[in-house]
């Protein structure tokens, strides 16, 4: 099955994959995903702590704030494995995005508090930022900072202990943390397709102590760009895992299901379709590996292109493979009891996060042709 082919000289990657498999045996992804719907989309604190205990939350945090000092190769393999196992916690945002922001933030007590809490699982730090939307405005008022505005599509908002808010002040972009239970913070949730609630988080003149500022203009802009880059990579890897497992399920089902005296997987039209799905999965895996490699070079332009391509390819592949896998499961695939539908729904969520393929492809060609060098984010 399609898989990220990365050098693994010291066996770290094999260990990571094994530990996810062990974890999935204790906390099977499909069951957790179904349970989450019953809870109205809130995170399962037990699963998140166990993930933190395994060292997966804030994997990208640098060692100077208690992180494992592991890099994007490890994150990609972890995300891929989580995708395969359908461990559908908000790893992309509440771990990768958050850790990239914190990792580059100014040293200080707040950064240390958040980083340590993330790694231990006690703090759930959820980024509050919407691509392309009107930014949250930060004003200095009486020695504290007042935030106004709203962010959309926030995952796990109700489970957050802190929001990492990207706001606009007079100097540019500023990054600060806000206690999730602050009075002037309002959360309005809607049901997500894979059972996770997706929220709009509003700040109505919300007062934040200046100690909670994590990074100021210029630096924050770079940080945000980097956080998007890393999160897209992680999402692409997770999508690749989802796609690969969905393909595996489709192969198993069609090899098993007998009609007209033969497994339906022996019919040539089904075989060719499975081969096409497999090729898409292989291309997704290769695109993610290419992005991992590019991120390890010094060429930021090349890395941006590679990540755009990887997220676009993996998103398209996962959506398309899962759709066809559902179809190949026949009537069974149309039931909620069959896991394959959960993979489809997970693929839809991840594919729609931080840019669908069409948008990413257009950004790629614009970037490459230098048509719009001015755009920085998204």
């Amino acid at each position: 099955m399609p898989k990220l082919m990365l050098d693994d000289p010291d066996g770290t990657l094999v260990m990571l994959r094994d530990s996810v498999n062990g974890f999935a045996a204790r906390f099977p992804g499909p069951k957790a995903l179904r349970d989450r719907r019953g809870r109205g989309g809130a995170m399962d604190p037990q699963i998140w702590s166990a993930m933190a205990e395994a060292g997966w939350i804030g994997l990208l945090l640098p060692e100077d704030c208690g992180g494992a000092g592991l890099g994007l190769r490890e994150q990609a393999v972890l995300s891929e494995a989580l995708g395969r196992a359908l461990i559908a916690e908000p790893t992309g945002t509440a771990s990768v995005f958050a850790a990239t922001l914190l990792g580059g933030a100014s040293s200080g007590a707040e950064r240390s508090r958040l980083a340590a809490g993330m790694a231990s699982g006690e703090i759930v730090a959820v980024p509050a930022w919407t691509s392309g939307a009107k930014p949250i405005v930060a004003r200095a008022v009486n020695g504290s900072i007042a935030l106004s505005g709203e962010t959309r599509f926030v995952e796990a908002a109700r489970s957050a202990t802190d929001f990492l808010v990207v706001a606009q002040d007079a100097d540019g972009v500023t990054l600060l943390s806000v206690a999730a239970d602050a009075a002037a913070v309002a959360i309005s949730e809607r049901a997500g397709v894979d059972g996770a609630a997706i929220a709009t988080v509003s700040f109505s003149n919300c007062a934040v102590p200046t100690e909670r500022v994590l990074s100021r203009a210029n630096r924050s802009e770079d940080l945000l760009r980097k956080a998007i880059l890393h999160t897209r990579l992680a999402l692409a890897a997770e999508l690749t895992g989802v796609a690969s497992k969905a393909l595996e399920l489709a192969i198993a089902y069609t090899s098993d299901r007998v009609q007209f005296g033969k497994p339906i997987g022996s019919f040539q039209a089904i075989q060719h379709r499975l081969v096409d799905m497999w090729i898409e999965g292989e291309f997704a895996a290769a695109a993610v590996v290419n992005a991992v490699d590019a991120l390890q070079s010094d060429d930021e332009d090349a890395a941006q292109l590679a990540v755009l391509a990887a997220k676009a390819r993996a998103g398209e592949a996962a959506f398309s493979i899962c759709r066809r896998a559902v179809h190949l499961h026949g009537a069974m695939g149309y039931t909620d009891e069959c896991d394959i539908g959960l993979y489809l729904k997970r693929a839809i969520n991840l594919n729609a996060t931080l840019g669908q393929p069409e948008q990413l492809r257009l950004e790629f060609v614009e970037r490459e042709s230098g048509l719009s060098r001015g755009r920085t984010y998204g």
Partner: protein, 385 residues
């Protein structure tokens, strides 16, 4: 007694039908999100149609039907759809009625047909089994004659609306050893309230239960509930769909979905993006041309002809178009494609995810599109075996 509907000109019939339906179908039942409402949810509309005598469009008038020709029936279905009337549990009207009228005994007709019209009997159809889907002839549910009673054991699946039905017409194997698998199959009328019957609804991808598993554990069915001859049920079972196969290919679903896409795209400003417009244009023209293709087969029916296997082209095209339209909705939805909740678009709500998930089903049910292509390859293109 009123005159024969088929003698009325088409447009007059259309107007008459449309006016009455528009006035009598309750507003709160129009354009339901549910594709398959339960009997109780639409009972008032069912009874209103029955009282008017318009419940059974194709049954002969002697049995309380309208006796419509295929051409008039198409108008009936078209107007029904245009007015957003809900689908009623119609296995009794559409399947059991015609089956009994063609193969049933006089006693069976006299007993069952009025009870379908009154809504006393709500029917479902027990064909598929866990290992007999596309390959229906491999069904295993058995009926063994014990005196003048069949003892039924086995399991059916994908039994639509079994949980709101009280009767099932069920395909059973009455002869195990025949070489031709299509032999040895019989059709029974089975009371779902009999001891030994268990119905389990199955939730679908849209978190609704519109089909069920039905288990039979030594269920006793009187011999008089056999339809036609014993062991010759395959012909009976296969006969129930005549000209109605055209409706499997009707443009209704993609038509509705495209309109929703248009509204969503307007609300999101997507029509300002020529790349979207180009994709929309393709979908729009596919729908338009589906109308032309549908008309090609409708003409055959209007001229009194019969449909060949080639009508499957419509079923394949319409179900795959429906999928492509709903996939485009998710593209237009952008980050909101992550939601299962409906999307707000101006003053209406668009059920994008509901439609996307719903569109997964028709390519499977009613004979998967792969089976349809197999049939076309043989029956129409005459390709070698």
């Amino acid at each position: 007694m009123r005159s024969d509907w088929n003698d009325i000109p088409d447009e007059e019939f259309r107007a008459t039908f449309r006016t009455w339906v528009d006035q009598n179908c309750p507003a709160h039942l129009r354009y339901m999100r549910k594709q398959r409402p339960l009997f109780n949810e639409v009972a008032e509309w069912y009874h209103a149609l029955a009282a008017k005598g318009w419940l059974a469009p194709t049954w002969p008038r002697q049995y309380g039907g309208m006796g419509l020709s295929a051409a008039k029936h198409m108008i009936y279905v078209e107007e029904w759809g245009r007015l957003g009337c809900p689908r009623i549990p119609d296995h009794g009207i559409g399947l059991v009625g015609p089956l009994l009228i063609e193969y049933g005994s006089e006693e069976q007709k006299a007993h069952y047909l009025p009870r379908i019209l009154s809504g006393e009997h709500v029917w479902c159809q027990g064909y598929s089994e866990p290992n007999a889907g596309s390959d229906l002839a491999s069904l295993k549910t058995s009926a063994v004659l014990d005196g003048d009673v069949f003892v039924v054991n086995g399991q059916k699946i994908w039994t639509t609306l079994a949980h709101c039905a009280n009767w099932i017409f069920v395909l059973v194997r009455t002869e195990r050893d025949s070489k031709v698998r299509q032999k040895g199959i019989s059709v029974l009328l089975l009371d779902l309230t009999s001891p030994g019957v268990r119905v389990r609804p199955i939730e679908n991808l849209r978190w609704e239960a519109d089909f069920c598993e039905v288990f039979f554990d030594n269920v006793r069915v009187p011999l008089k509930n056999l339809v036609g001859k014993v062991n010759e049920g395959w012909t009976v079972a296969k006969s129930v769909l005549g000209h109605e196969r055209i409706f499997l290919g009707a443009p209704t679903r993609p038509e509705y979905a495209l309109e929703r896409l248009r509204r969503l795209a307007e609300a999101r400003g997507a029509f300002d993006d020529p790349a979207f417009l180009s994709r929309f244009a393709r979908l729009r023209l596919d729908l338009y041309d589906l109308g032309s293709a549908f008309e090609r087969y409708a003409k055959v029916l209007r001229a009194g002809g019969e449909l060949g296997a080639d009508v499957s082209a419509l079923k394949i095209f319409t179900t795959e178009l429906y999928q492509r339209i709903t996939e485009e909705m998710l593209t237009v939805a952008g980050e909101e494609a992550r939601l299962s909740d409906d999307l707000v678009a101006g003053d209406i709500e668009i059920d994008a995810m509901n439609l996307f998930l719903d569109s997964r089903a028709p390519a499977i049910f009613g004979g998967s599109n792969e089976i349809q292509r197999n049939i076309l390859a043989k029956a129409v293109l005459h390709l070698p075996g």
